[in-house]
């Protein structure tokens, strides 16, 4: 479908224009969800469980209702009972019972911070005071905090009616067991000269978006509702809120505000149904905003995990077999990304014999939500460090190890037909040839590590319209909330096709009334799928413009083409006409022109990244300093290179935080002890160096411009890359995340002796 885009010359695509929403964002004018206010608006606050695991015996709200300024209180009794089976809510498959119970607990609380009731009052302070007056009687149960504890026979059961696909009618905390098998595992291990077997534990981490969740709902007197919120998917907010509150989705309009970060964590709902239900009860607009503590305790972090991996290779470094046992924390309700993790863990390597057992396990932690390549980072920590060990045993450069075993066009893909054109090996080679990798790293307690990563990327549904205005400018309307600068790329694609300047195209992210169904901004799909819809909508406008020009010139449509940004008639006699020139004539020649397209995007291109990191480990404090970092990623075709670089750098920074310091710390009662940004320690400006980026372009044949999604995969390699670097720095193979100073100290002492670069080489 796509010509090799490296051969095409583009006028706009590949340049770096200033984003259209930029001025609003640097002046403070841009409206994020919490910036909305309406006359008569009430403020909501949520009462949350102080226990990790308990039965709710009773909830009494009468004292709270009497507090002056309190207008309404809701509990699960105000929501319809929801069926306990997978069903469609709009375009998503969900379990309505689990979703509803996560929004407001019914019968049991399953994690510290689990929502129990919501209050609407005339000020947020009064609402907060009212929470203290709500009386809840709990029967506290023992908390189950790890996958090991949850899977033990006799473990306390979180969800009494939870059953899995294997244990029949037995009560269990294992929501699902999935197995992947290929080839002959025993034969594969017998053929191996070296075998490495390790067990990894990774801690639960949060997406860490700086903007807390928010929602403003207006349930109008005619039963029509509007929700303003910062979300990655307005259409999903519509279907999920409708499902939870028991309102028809067709009566809800969702307006996506500007969003202050999502990374997957804002693809579901928490506050929107509460705001909607409170607005319905009070007849007033209701606004809810989470505090940071609520965000950490009660939104959707990603799974901590236990991964046991055994990998074998021949002495010249060819992988012959791999076996994996992996269990991921789902949180209080089923749905960890363990299956995605299982499909990613061996995806970059071309070999035959494997067996993977993947377990989705409920524990008394918040229900996990998507976090940038969900499941893959945990997995890569295991596979990419074990591969590093095998490379060392074989005496092979770690990048050569990946290149030797790397998938290419035609190799088996974990989830479908074989890979089409991909850039895995090219990203490895890009790092190998980089100034960073070629440079010498000298000094004690310093080491260099590399790792690679895979992510599927998504296609899914997007709609777009392109309006040609009488003055020759255009607007491009999509339903994809812009979380990273994507709207400028939409304008660039439109400008390219129509021969316009990018400043003559206005991009807009529309509400759910103003654009056709569009799936969530996530899965690295916006520039790919919404970009595809925009491209096709612009081409649709071109078709109509050609017809109009043909009419004006009294020629056949087939004789009119769009060439070098102008409408051109074959042969001589008619000077070419720009879109600007014909735009003023549209009204008199048939009416306005709008191009439109809706796609269920096929032809997704797989994403690969390779990361190289230099570290220095302080021999006394075991603080790890990142000295230098380079990431190479295959973007297919970079529409706006600055924003592609931005995705690569941002994902890398999150991966480094995941590697070194970020973790959920619960006490023995299951209470979260670090629910603030001081102790949930994310990287600051001072913790990171400049992040060098290498954009590899192996065009994706499935996209008209060769685009491959770039938003996620850069988060996958860093923990393994940092672990491999730490090994070379101080001779310790880390198998736990995060590799924080106390853990490095412990591992170092266990290994015996102080950190020493020389003994590292002998290990």
């Amino acid at each position: 479908m796509a010509e090799a885009t490296s051969n095409r010359k583009f006028r706009v695509i590949g340049t770096r224009p200033i984003r259209h929403d930029g001025v609003d964002k640097v002046t403070g004018r841009a409206k994020y969800g919490a910036d909305y206010s309406f006359p008569g608006m009430l403020h909501g606050k949520v009462l949350r469980s102080p226990h990790a695991h308990a039965v709710i015996k009773s909830i009494k709200v009468d004292k709270a209702l009497k507090l002056p300024g309190v207008k309404a209180i809701i509990t699960a009794d105000d929501l319809p009972e929801a069926p306990n089976k997978m069903q469609q809510a709009g375009e998503m498959a969900i379990n309505p019972s689990h979703l509803s119970r996560n929004i407001l607990a019914r019968g049991k609380v399953l994690y510290d911070g689990h929502a129990i009731a919501a209050v609407a009052a005339t000020s947020p302070h009064i609402a907060e005071e009212a929470l203290k007056l709500i009386e809840v009687d709990y029967e506290v149960l023992p908390p189950v905090m790890t996958v090991e504890a949850a899977m033990k026979p006799g473990a306390p059961i979180l969800i009494p009616d939870l059953r899995n696909n294997e244990e029949g009618d037995k009560q269990t905390n294992v929501a699902q067991h999935m197995q992947f098998k290929r080839g002959d595992l025993d034969k594969g291990f017998k053929a191996a000269d070296y075998v490495v077997e390790r067990e990894f534990k990774t801690a639960m981490v949060h997406q860490g978006y700086i903007e807390p969740h928010n929602a403003v709902a207006i349930y109008n007197n005619d039963g029509q509702a509007t929700i303003y919120c910062s979300t990655q998917g307005a259409f999903d907010v519509r279907s999920l809120s409708a499902q939870v509150v028991g309102v028809e989705p067709g009566k809800i309009k969702v307006v996506p505000a500007e969003i202050g970060g999502g990374f997957g964590g804002k693809t579901t709902v928490y506050l929107e149904p509460l705001a909607l239900a409170l607005s319905k009860k009070t007849g007033k607009p209701v606004k809810l905003v989470m505090t940071r503590s609520e965000v950490l305790r009660a939104s959707g972090p990603t799974s901590g995990s236990t991964i046991k991996i055994k990998m074998g290779c021949t002495k010249d470094g060819k992988i012959t077999a791999a076996q994996v046992w992996m269990a991921y924390e789902a949180g209080g309700f089923p749905g960890s990304p363990v299956v995605a993790g299982a499909m990613c863990i061996l995806a970059p390597y071309d070999f035959e014999n494997l067996l993977i057992d993947a377990y989705d396990v409920v524990v008394n932690r918040p229900k996990t939500a998507a976090y940038r390549a969900p499941g893959a980072t945990n997995a890569a920590m295991a596979s990419e460090t074990v591969l590093d060990e095998l490379a060392e045993k074989c005496g092979i450069d770690p990048l050569d190890m990946r290149i030797k075993n790397g998938v290419k066009e035609g190799s088996a893909h974990p989830a479908g037909p074989p890979y089409k054109r991909i850039g895995y090996i090219q990203t490895c080679e890009a790092i190998k040839n980089s100034p960073h990798y070629k440079s010498k790293l000298e000094g004690p307690n310093r080491g260099r590590g590399v790792a690679t990563g895979f992510w599927f990327n998504a296609g899914m549904q997007s709609s777009a319209t392109v309006n040609i205005h009488a003055d020759g400018s255009a607007s491009v309307v999509t339903g994809s909330p812009d979380i990273g600068g994507s709207r400028v790329s939409m304008a660039m694609i439109t400008a390219e096709v129509l021969g316009l300047e990018v400043t003559d195209v206005r991009p807009l992210t529309a509400d759910t009334d103003s654009i056709g169904h569009t799936d969530v901004t996530g899965g690295s799909r916006v520039t790919f799928a919404t970009g595809m819809a925009v491209y096709e909508a612009a081409q649709d406008a071109v078709r109509q413009l050609r017809e109009r020009a043909a009419k004006l010139w009294e020629r056949k449509v087939e004789d009119v083409e769009m060439k070098d940004g102008k409408l051109t008639a074959k042969g001589n006699g008619v000077p070419p006409m720009s879109v600007k020139e014909i735009a003023s004539k549209l009204g008199r020649t048939g009416g306005p022109i709008t191009g439109r397209a809706s796609v269920n995007a096929r032809g997704v291109g797989a994403a690969f990244a390779a990361t190289c990191v230099d570290v220095e480990v302080d021999p006394e404090t075991f603080k790890v300093q990142i000295l230098r970092c380079t990431v190479a990623q295959d973007a297919g075709k970079a529409i706006h290179p600055s924003y592609v670089e931005g995705q690569m750098q941002g994902g890398t920074a999150q991966g480094i935080g995941w590697a070194l310091n970020e973790e959920y710390i619960y006490d023995d009662k299951g209470i979260l002890r670090n629910s603030g940004l001081l102790d949930y320690r994310m990287p600051t400006c001072l913790d990171l160096p400049m992040i060098e980026t290498i954009i590899v372009e192996e065009p994706n044949p499935g996209h008209p411009l060769g685009v491959r999604g770039v938003g996620e995969v850069s988060i996958v390699p860093p923990p393994a890359a940092v672990a491999n670097a730490i090994y070379r720095a101080i001779g310790v193979r880390m198998t736990e995340l995060p590799m924080s100073p106390p853990r490095l100290l412990k591992a170092s002492l266990k290994r015996g002796g102080a950190a020493d670069a020389h003994s590292a080489a002998a290990d």
Binding site: R19, T27, G28, I210, M690
Partner: protein
Amino acid sequence: MKKVLVEANINGETVEFLCEARQSLLETLRDVLNLTGSKEGCLTGDCGACSVMVDGRVVCSCLMLGAEAAGKNITTVEGLATGNQLHPLQQKFLENAALQCGICTPGFLVAAKALIDKNPNPSEEEVRYALAGNLCRCTGYDKIVRAVIEAAKAVKSGAAESRAGAR
């Protein structure tokens, strides 16, 4: 609860407002004065999204009371541009793609302005140190640091130009 009458200078204008004693400066700016450019990220002074300048010093407005603004000079992100002219920091952020979601940007701009007001020629390390109180989750800070260094140079050469013009 009786409100407090406060007079302060905000972004160069004398402003008089009423706020509750318990309202933070951040809440007062956003909910009383409709200056929603300063953002709430953590309410514990750890993320810097609420950064404003108080008498030339960077402060987390979530850690200060609205009533404490009395008699002070407050600068928020809304006060950085001069009419239609963006401050070089704002311009360089745009040119360098130093923002993705943009929620941390107001805080960074204020903290960066406070830095280059005091240190017109900061090194990369000085920039990183000064901005360590502002968290960004989207960019990995690379393009932000580049933008601040470029802006400092632009301010310096702009000041040199206006000095030259004045002669």
